[in-house]
């Protein structure tokens, strides 16, 4: 299939991220991306959308997140944009899950999203522009 960009915007309402995830999975399938890569991408995109809806748009249903995706030469690029403050200092290090498990009674287990994204796609970049929201860019190559 010829290269081109698809853009989907969804309201910041829990559940809508699945529409984006499945749409990107369909696109990846049409471009012959392997099932394993697609499964990993689904999880990574889901995390990126949830972060955009939660940390970016505070689940304000009137604010959209805009997701663009394109496949070319066996590479797929996904960008997820929110309209939050754009203040973001992403830390992609592995969370200490062992420690989290020990302290589960007093501290919330979690904060896995960025590490998952980094682990499940070939390249990830998250950057904000003050007042213009945050953009997460995920890349995979087949």
């Amino acid at each position: 299939m010829e290269a081109g960009t698809v853009t989907t915007s969804i309201p910041s309402i829990e559940g809508y991220e699945e529409i984006v995830v499945e749409s990107i999975a369909t696109t990846a399938r049409l471009f012959g991306i392997s099932a394993k890569k697609i499964n990993n991408l689904r999880v990574a995109v889901n995390e990126a959308c949830i972060n955009a809806m939660e940390h970016g748009n505070n689940y304000d249903p009137s604010k959209s997140i805009v997701v663009s995706y394109a496949c070319k030469d066996n590479n797929m690029i996904v960008t997820v944009k929110d309209s939050g403050s754009g203040k973001v200092h992403p830390d992609f290090r592995r969370p200490d899950v062992e420690e989290q498990v020990k302290k589960f009674k007093t501290e919330r287990i979690g904060g896995w999203g960025l590490f998952l994204m980094k682990s499940l796609v070939d390249e990830v970049d998250i950057s904000g522009s003050e007042g213009k929201g945050t953009t997460a860019i995920l890349k995979i190559s087949n």
């Binding site: 829990e14 559940g15 991220e17 699945e18 995830v21 499964n39 990993n40 689904r42 999880v43 889901n46 995390e47 949830i50 969370p95 899950v97 062992e98 498990v101 589960f104 919330r108 287990i109 979690g110 896995w112 999203g113 590490f115 998952l116 682990s119 499940l120």
Partner: protein, 122 residues
Amino acid sequence: MSKSKSFGKNVVLEGHGEIDSLYISNNLDGKTSEDVRLAFGEIKKEKVLINLGQVRLTSSRGLATLLSLMLEGEEEGVIFALCEVSEPCMIILNTMNIMEYIEGVEILDTTENAMKWLSEQG
């Protein structure tokens, strides 16, 4: 005889003999994980099967909540068997090395094997 109770659209709790079985389906997102929490509140048995076969998508938040609930259960002596763990769940469990850090939780392939494993415990 087995009883069954639903929590929201995606969570069903069933009791059979000495085992409670929790079926989670569709998207294990924030909402569903809160329904899982409600279901855990009604677990009566010390052996619990959690079937993740129908979980098409999961957030790390959803799975982290499930993990917390299992850790709380463990403290009270409950034994858990996860089964039919779907691909998105397995991807997160593996990437985060979850199974290395928790005891008293086993992953089995089929519901049948999970039932069998649970019935052989304690």
